[in-house]
Symmetry: C3
Subunit: 112 residues, 3 copies
């Protein structure tokens, strides 16, 4: 099974919950979770930059197999350069299109 987490909120507590849930999915002992993707956009984008306060968490998630995708529309609107992204984040043209694509591929959506 595959899970996609929508990191879309600017609320720090919701961002923290999202990253904790990503960790719990990766560490799940049932062995049923094959992939965890995190799509960051809108207010959620800062959480995967060094200004977000979650540098250690994001890097550790990426090392443990989570894939981060950052919305280029948001990066442009917020004036954030790709180089500021953590967790080896890949840039996608629009986060919501990427979420739609992943759901169509069978990923289960969550927005903590």
């Amino acid at each position: 099974m595959q899970s996609v987490l929508h990191l879309v909120s600017g609320d720090e507590s919701e961002q923290e919950t999202t990253l904790t849930i990503a960790k719990n999915l990766l560490e799940d002992e049932s062995g049923d979770i094959d992939d965890v993707a995190v799509v960051a956009q809108a207010g959620g984008i800062e959480a995967i930059t060094s200004d977000g306060g979650f540098t250690e968490e994001v890097e550790s998630l990426a090392e443990n197999g989570a894939s981060f995708k950052a919305c280029a529309n948001t990066l442009e609107m917020e004036g954030i350069d790709e180089s500021e992204l953590l967790g080896n984040a890949e840039t996608v043209p629009e986060g919501a299109v990427e979420v739609t694509r992943l759901e169509n591929e069978g990923y289960a959506y969550m927005r903590p």
Copy 2:
């Protein structure tokens, strides 16, 4: 691909993000997004009335092909008349049933 956005929050910033994402989905250059539905209920209903502060955005989205659906249970609870709805919104008996139906038809769910 089809996307359904759940406009369920009373938070104005989350409402704005939802409408911005609807716009980005409609304008997506990949051409992979065939339909964008917005289901408004609970605290999110006001965003598609003239009191919500998003009149221009909602009308423009409707003109560009987004379909708005308003929860009749919420309208009744909030004392809002159908005539106050923007964006040619169609009324559905219960928003969450409509979301369930759309997801069953293959729409990808997002709740920004």
Copy 3:
């Protein structure tokens, strides 16, 4: 059709909306909703304990057929004992894995 509600927010108003939506799904007159599951985790867990202020609502939902699932990771982190859970809640190892499983079984996800 089947619906899964993610009770993940610590915001009392969002918790109330989630429980109201569960009620509306159960009472839907179309007869199209066969099951309503509520997965509680993170900030949402308190809403299904006696400290959450929704005792009557949760018990009534359970009596009317909603199934509550509580995340064991959250219970441990928050120091909440299973005995404090309302609504005949079943404990699952990780709420997000349960949501992923339910979505894979065809449940439509909502996060009010």
